[in-house]
Every structure is written in structure tokens, then in C-alpha cells.
């Protein structure tokens, strides 16, 4: 009894729970280093980091949402809508790049804010509210673009996706900044503390005088904002904004968070875990490509990894009970 208590104790205050995901990541890297000569090269590692960055950036926000006991299915659609609108401003309207990017990010935040309103004011279950928003945002992206991509951006904008700072791709730097801020937010501010409180026991949170509507609103808004940010990076990287961008993206993001040890029932989790989760998915995709595994099988394998990660977490929890 006492022993299990101390194990669980460490879990929240150090890297206990994330340790599982982290050692999984290390083992994967070792295996891939041994089986492919290309894996452990600076170019390839940077490549993996860049490929993981989109999922990781949004997963940072999704971690907050899931810790509050919610879910956001609209991230992929918001990503697409925000990037299409920003692209439209740049290309069709000829607006200044940074003004367009700023408005695009604001639109993402607004969509998230609306999610928050639907969830706290009506109130709708997060699954339903964001499922609806997923359809609405995706639909609006199609309506706006007519289904045709908007492309050939200015090189300043393309820097967001392709730029390098020394050997490090710009999206990776963006990812690092996002995670630094998210980690501080989660561990040192009211937003983080109240997210744990709301997800851990919503009724107690209400009765402790925590303004839950405000803090739920904040986490969905932030997630919408980060989705739009990922949208900008993706459009810049592909040199095209499309209404089909980020299709199915929400599931990758949720998978990264869950692999990282955040419980879908809320109240626990860490952003670092989600970063590791996103990297695991990136490394597996990259490794399977290097090993010439077909993309069809890759889907199967990624699905199995999600099941294994969560199953291990559940088993570990049951053991410590």
C-alpha cells in the first residue's frame, strides 16, 4: 500500500508517468538506429522533428482541453479554415503577410472561443460542440475556396514552414517555444491549476468558487489559436492552403496526447507527455518510411501503438490501486 502510494506520488511531481512514454521513444530510436543507417543523422532527426511539430503544437493545447475533461474534434478543420482565410487575404486580397497571419490566428482563437461558449453556456458536451464546429469550419473552408487550393506565397511567409535557423527548422523552434510556454502555464499559473481542478472534480471546482466557464473558454480558445498556428505552418510548408488540409488531424493530435499519458477522463496529464507522444508518432512514421513499410500498414501500426500505450497506462493504474 505504502509503496504504491509513493510511486503514484512521484508520478505527478516528476516524470513518472511520462517516463513510460519517454523510454518507449528511446527504445524506438535505438531500434531504428540499428535497423536503418539513415535514421540517426542530423538531417533525418530534424526531419522527424519538423514532421512532428504540427501535431505537437496543437497537442499542447489539446492537453489542456483533455485535462479539463473535454475534447476538441475541430482542430483539423480550424487549421484548414484559418489557413485558407489567411491565404485568401494574402493572395486574393493582397494584404500584408503578417496582418493576414495575425487575422488567421485570431480566427482560430475565435473558433475555439465559440467552442468554449457552446460548451459552457448552452451547455453542450465538448464532443458534440466540437463535432459540430468540425463540420462548420471545414464546410466554410470549402465554401470560401470553392475546393481549389490557394497557393504561391511570398517567401517570407514560406519561411514559417521551410525556414531554417542554423540547422533547426523554424517549425521546430516554434514547437519548442509553444511547449515552454505551455509547460509554464500548466505548472505555474491559474489556468493550469484550475484545469486540473475542473477535470479532476468539476462539481468541487464549482463549489470552490472557481469560474469554470472562464477557464474552459480559455483552454478551447488557446487550442483554436494553436490549430490556426499549425495551419499557417502547414500552408507555408506546402506553399498551398487547401480546404482538405488537416483532414483526420484531430485524431493524430488526440493520439499524441493520450500516448503521452494524459487521461481522457481528465484531471491528470502533462504537456511534456504530449510532446513525447507526438515525437513517438513522428519517429514511427519516419522509421516505417525508412524501412519501406507501406503507408497502409503504417496506419495499422500507429493504431496498435495507441492501443498499447493506453492499455499499459490502464494496467499500471490498476496495479497501483
Amino acid at each position: 500500500m505504502q509503496g504504491s502510494v509513493t510511486v503514484r506520488q512521484r508520478a505527478r511531481f516528476s516524470l513518472g508517468k511520462e517516463l513510460g512514454a519517454f523510454s518507449g521513444l528511446l527504445i524506438l530510436c535505438v531500434i531504428l538506429t540499428l535497423s536503418s543507417p539513415y535514421f540517426l543523422s542530423v538531417t533525418n532527426i530534424m526531419n522527424v522533428l519538423r514532421q512532428s511539430s504540427l501535431i505537437a503544437i496543437v497537442a499542447a493545447g489539446m492537453t489542456f482541453v483533455i485535462i479539463t475533461g473535454g475534447i476538441d474534434l475541430s482542430v483539423g478543420s480550424v487549421l484548414s479554415l484559418a489557413s485558407c482565410l489567411a491565404a485568401g487575404m494574402m493572395i486574393n486580397l493582397g494584404w500584408n503577410i503578417w496582418v493576414s497571419v495575425f487575422i488567421g490566428l485570431a480566427i482560430g482563437g475565435l473558433m475555439g472561443f465559440i467552442n468554449g461558449l457552446l460548451i459552457t453556456q448552452i451547455p453542450l458536451p465538448p464532443f458534440i460542440a466540437t463535432l459540430g464546429m468540425m463540420g462548420v469550419a471545414r464546410g466554410l473552408a470549402f465554401v470560401y475556396t470553392g475546393g481549389a487550393p490557394i497557393y504561391s506565397f511570398h517567401e517570407h511567409f514560406r519561411f514559417l514552414g521551410n525556414g531554417m535557423v542554423g540547422p533547426v527548422p523554424f517549425p521546430v523552434i516554434l514547437m519548442a517555444v509553444v511547449y515552454f510556454v505551455a509547460h509554464i502555464l500548466l505548472t505555474k499559473t491559474k489556468v493550469g491549476r484550475f484545469s486540473y481542478a475542473i477535470g479532476g472534480n468539476e462539481e468541487a471546482a464549482v463549489l470552490s468558487g472557481i469560474p469554470i466557464a472562464r477557464y474552459k473558454g480559455i483552454v478551447y480558445t488557446v487550442t483554436g489559436f494553436l490549430s490556426a498556428m499549425a495551419g499557417m505552418v502547414l500552408a507555408a510548408r506546402l506553399d498551398a492552403a487547401t480546404s482538405v488540409a488537416g483532414d483526420g488531424f484531430e485524431l493524430d493530435v488526440i493520439a499524441a496526447v493520450v500516448i503521452g499519458g494524459t487521461s481522457l477522463s481528465g484531471g491528470e496529464g502533462k504537456v511534456i507527455g504530449s510532446l513525447i507522444g507526438a515525437l513517438i508518432m513522428g519517429v514511427v512514421r519516419n522509421g516505417l518510411n525508412l524501412l519501406l513499410v507501406s503507408s497502409h500498414w503504417q496506419r495499422v501500426i500507429l493504431g496498435l501503438i495507441i492501443l498499447a500505450a493506453v492499455a499499459m497506462d490502464v494496467l499500471r493504474k490498476n496495479r497501483s490501486k
Binding site: Q9, F13, R193, Y196, A197, N201, V206, G209, G267
Partner: protein, 497 residues
């Protein structure tokens, strides 16, 4: 009743939980057609004993015989197959299903092709209900029924499973007087059918009307078994309690100061009708009443967790409108909920984090939480309230009930509440921890906090309150000073039509 056939015999039943000896070599017997009451305080071991019989716990030592055959109860399903049914306080019914569907849940009469035979469900249900002389439509949904009727559905369900032994856990806790009479006549019909009943209660007064024998448990041990007609009720109390009243309720009267709260003409639908009262500094104001009498709704109104239609609330003579718990916290009203795990605590947060959550601004440095200061605050309360925890970072989940209760209290001390509402402050904690909670209540009152204590435990209400208000069907129906209150007077106000 003559020496009847022995249905159940339990001998030397022992059950240990980490750090607690919940049952210590308890013996118990049950005859055919007998109502055998088990009497004891919270924590005496009543519920552990019935959980062993129902298969929810396995025993550590001891032996159970059913009709002279040794049995080993494996799980709840096995207990049901052996003919042992339990009717818990919070019923095991599916609210959205009908009476008939509930009674035959998992044993639905089947028609051709494995489809559920609705007609047969209904007719079989009618038969069972008729046997018990219960007038109830099998097609009604359970959530349309009152508490008393839901209990009848449970009884019918047990009977339909050919239960020989029905265990009733505090069956009268939520019932009014007429409903109790109904229940007792149903129990007598069950006896006539040869069903034996284990009747768990801590309400002494009702036992002579229904029980044949009574066994008293205290601190996990069997103290005595008596035939009901051979025993004086008053002689049972010391057996049950094992300590004097003043040891149990160490009330220290505090000096009563100025008014901290006044409620005038509060109304909400027909659930709260013209509620008016005052609370003073240093006063412990007890709220008695049956479940559903409106006490909970009233407290939720005071705390802003629920709307009210009209009425005025004054805090320290200033009219306020409390629209949300945030308002209440800001105005210095704290709410210590009945169900700590569900409503009061964050089990996944640490002791320190639970304490600071109500007023986290105090430990913030700009937008950042100052973890050092937070720990210092937590450590201060751990010491002053003697909260037993290995470290301040320990998750609240792993504390005992009494220590959890202290954490729930500490967070309101930290928020500097001037009015504290305790909802069932000692439910589910053991006797020693209760006394500590009472001492804390004394201490708070002496510090000038106004305290409202909602409790269903009449001895607690009488033992700890300076003044007692009784609620009944949404109205205040009685007010007593500590000296003049008796259980009988309070119950009369709580139950009169």
C-alpha cells in the same frame, strides 16, 4: 416467536482493512421469518458485515453456514443465487427503466428468438407486486416514483429472486412516518412468507415495532444480542455508543456575537417556502430534517450554487445577491459538502493544492503560483489542524476520511470564511475522527465564525448546536435552543404533515 429454524449462522467473522480492524470475531444468527436488527454507530462494522454477506467483500477469518451447510460467498452474483439480497440505501435501480424491467433486470422473460417478452415481464411483475400487496403500475418508469416506492420495487425484486434473506440498510432513513408504516407492513408480509430480514439501523425508537432480536456492534465487535421484548431501549444506548454523551459531543459554548447572516422570505418553487432565519458570530446553528426536506436546496442557495425565486440575504446586515459560488467565496461563505470525494476535494491534487484552491490569489506572485509559499501555507494548516499526511505534496486521494475532512475545512480557513456551512460533517468517518471534527467546529466558533451544520444525525445536531432549526417539506417548522431540544421534539417537527 419460538426458537425457529436457523437460516444463517456467522461465526468469528473478521475483516481487516489496511490499518483498521473493521470486524473482530463477530458472531451472528438469523432464524427463519425473523427480523434481526443490527444496531451500531457509523464505523461500528454494520456495513462491512453486510458487504461480506452480499459478496462485495471476502472475509479474512470466520465461517458462514446457510441452513447448516458451510458456504463461501464468492461474489455478489453468488450471494443472490444463495438467496441473499441486499437493499442498499441508494438503490440499485435503473431510473430510466420501468418497474417491471427493473425487477427482472438480467433475468428478462424471453419469447421466441431471444426477444424480451414484454407482456410476460409485466404480468410476472404484477404477480410479485400483488404478493406484497403493493399497488404499483409495472409499466411506470422508476424515476417517476418516490423514494418509498422505489424501495418497494427493490423489495419486490428481492422477492422475485426467491430471496430467503433480505438485508435492509437503513431502510427508513429517507422515509416519512406514513411510509415507514407501509414499509413495516410489507416487512411483516415478508416474514409470513418465511423470509428472514437483517435490518440495519441506528434509529433505536423504531426497533420495537419491527424487530424480533437486536444485535449491537461497536468498533467492529459484537457487544450483545437481545430479544427485543426483553430489553429496555435506553439500556441499548450506552452499549452502542460506549462513551458518555459529553465525550461524544465535546461542545464548548462560544460567546455569541453580532449577526453575520440573515435570510428573509426565501422562496424557490415549492421546495423552499418563506425561509427566514439569522445566524450569529460564534454560533453553531443546526439544521435538522428528513432527506428531501429542502435543507440541501437552502444551503445551495446560500452558497450561490442554486437560483432562488425571491427573498433577501444579508451578510453582516448588508443585503447581498449571491449568484455564484465565486460570489459566495468572495463574500466569505464556505461550504463543506457532505460528499467530500464527489463535491469537496480534488483527489488528484496534493494536500497543499487542495487547500489553496479557494483563494489561490494569496499564493500568486504576479501571474505565477509561488510553489514555495503554497507549501508553506499547506504546512501551516497541516500542523495547526493536525492533518495526518506523509508530505504536503501527498495526493489527497490517499488520506483517511477524517483527514480529508480536515483538508476540506482547511481550504475554507485559508479563504478566511466568516460563515461556514457544514453538510453532514461527520458522515462516513470513524468515531475518533468525529470528535476531532467537533473540536474544530468548537475552535472555529470561538474564533467568531458563524457555523451552519446540516445533519441527519439527531444526537450530533443536539450535541453540537447552540440553536436548532427544523425543516419539513421546504418550510421551517421548528426552532429549539440546545437545552430544550430532544430527538422526539425534533422528529415531530420534521415529520408532521
Amino acid at each position: 416467536m419460538a426458537e425457529g429454524e436457523l437460516v444463517l449462522r456467522m461465526q468469528g467473522i473478521t475483516k481487516r482493512f489496511p490499518g483498521v480492524l473493521a470486524l473482530d470475531a463477530v458472531d451472528f444468527e438469523l432464524q427463519k421469518g425473523e427480523v434481526h436488527a443490527i444496531l451500531g454507530e457509523n464505523g461500528a462494522g454494520k456495513s462491512t458485515l453486510i458487504k461480506i454477506l452480499s459478496g462485495a467483500y471476502t472475509l479474512d477469518e470466520g465461517q458462514i453456514w446457510l441452513h447448516g451447510e458451510p458456504i463461501y460467498i464468492l461474489n455478489p452474483k453468488h450471494a443472490l443465487e444463495l438467496g441473499i439480497s441486499v437493499i442498499y440505501q441508494d438503490f440499485n435501480l435503473v431510473p430510466t427503466l420501468t418497474v417491471g424491467e427493473n425487477i427482472f433486470l438480467g433475468r428478462e422473460p424471453m419469447a421466441l428468438a431471444n426477444l424480451i417478452d414484454r407482456k410476460r415481464t409485466t404480468s410476472a411483475c404484477r404477480t410479485v407486486l400483488a404478493e406484497l400487496n403493493i399497488n404499483l403500475d409495472p409499466e411506470m418508469r422508476v424515476d417517476e416514483l418516490g423514494v418509498a416506492m422505489q424501495q418497494m420495487v427493490e423489495v419486490a425484486k428481492a422477492l422475485s429472486m426467491d430471496a430467503e434473506i433480505i438485508i435492509m440498510d437503513e431502510p427508513t432513513a429517507a422515509l416519512g412516518e406514513n411510509e415507514i408504516t407501509e414499509l413495516f407492513s410489507t416487512i411483516r408480509r415478508l416474514k409470513e412468507k418465511g423470509v428472514s430480514i437483517i435490518y440495519i439501523s441506528h434509529r433505536l425508537q423504531e426497533l420495537p415495532a419491527i424487530a424480533d432480536r437486536v444485535t449491537i456492534l461497536r468498533d467492529g465487535r459484537k457487544i450483545a444480542t437481545h430479544r427485543m421484548e426483553e430489553v429496555e431501549l435506553n439500556s441499548l444506548i450506552p452499549l452502542m455508543v460506549g462513551r458518555t454523551l459529553s465525550e461524544q459531543f465535546p461542545k464548548i459554548p462560544a460567546s455569541i456575537g453580532s449577526e453575520v447572516l440573515r435570510v428573509e422570505g426565501l422562496n424557490w418553487k415549492d421546495r423552499l417556502v418563506d425561509i427566514s432565519f439569522s445566524l450569529y458570530q460564534g454560533e453553531v446553528l443546526g439544521f435538522a430534517g428528513l432527506v428531501g426536506s429542502g435543507r440541501t436546496e437552502l444551503m445551495r442557495c446560500l452558497f450561490g450554487a442554486q437560483e432562488y425565486d425571491r427573498g433577501k440575504i444579508y451578510l453582516g446586515k448588508i443585503p447581498v445577491r449571491i449568484r455564484s459560488p465565486q460570489d459566495a467565496v468572495r463574500l466569505g461563505v464556505g461550504f463543506i459538502t457532505e460528499d467530500r470525494k464527489k463535491q469537496g476535494l480534488f483527489l488528484g491534487l496534493s494536500v497543499a493544492e487542495n487547500i489553496t484552491v479557494t483563494d489561490i490569489g494569496q499564493v500568486m506572485n504576479g501571474i505565477f503560483i509561488d510553489h514555495q509559499q503554497e507549501k508553506a501555507v499547506g504546512t501551516g494548516y497541516v500542523e495547526s489542524l493536525r492533518i495526518k499526511t506523509p508530505t504536503i505534496e501527498h495526493l489527497v486521494r490517499y488520506l483517511s476520511g477524517g483527514n480529508q475532512q480536515k483538508v476540506a475545512l482547511a481550504k475554507w480557513l485559508f479563504a478566511e470564511a466568516r460563515i461556514l456551512i457544514f453538510d453532514e460533517p461527520t458522515r462516513g468517518i470513524d468515531v475518533g475522527a468525529k470528535v476531532e471534527v467537533y473540536n474544530l467546529i468548537n475552535q472555529l466558533a470561538q474564533n467568531g465564525v458563524g457555523i451552519i451544520m446540516v445533519s441527519s444525525e439527531l444526537p450530533e445536531i443536539i450535541g453540537m448546536s447552540d440553536r436548532i432549526l427544523v425543516m419539513n417539506r421546504g418550510r421551517l417548522t421548528g426552532e429549539f435552543l440546545r437545552e430544550e431540544a430532544t430527538q422526539a421534539k425534533i422528529m415531530e417537527c420534521a415529520t408532521k404533515e
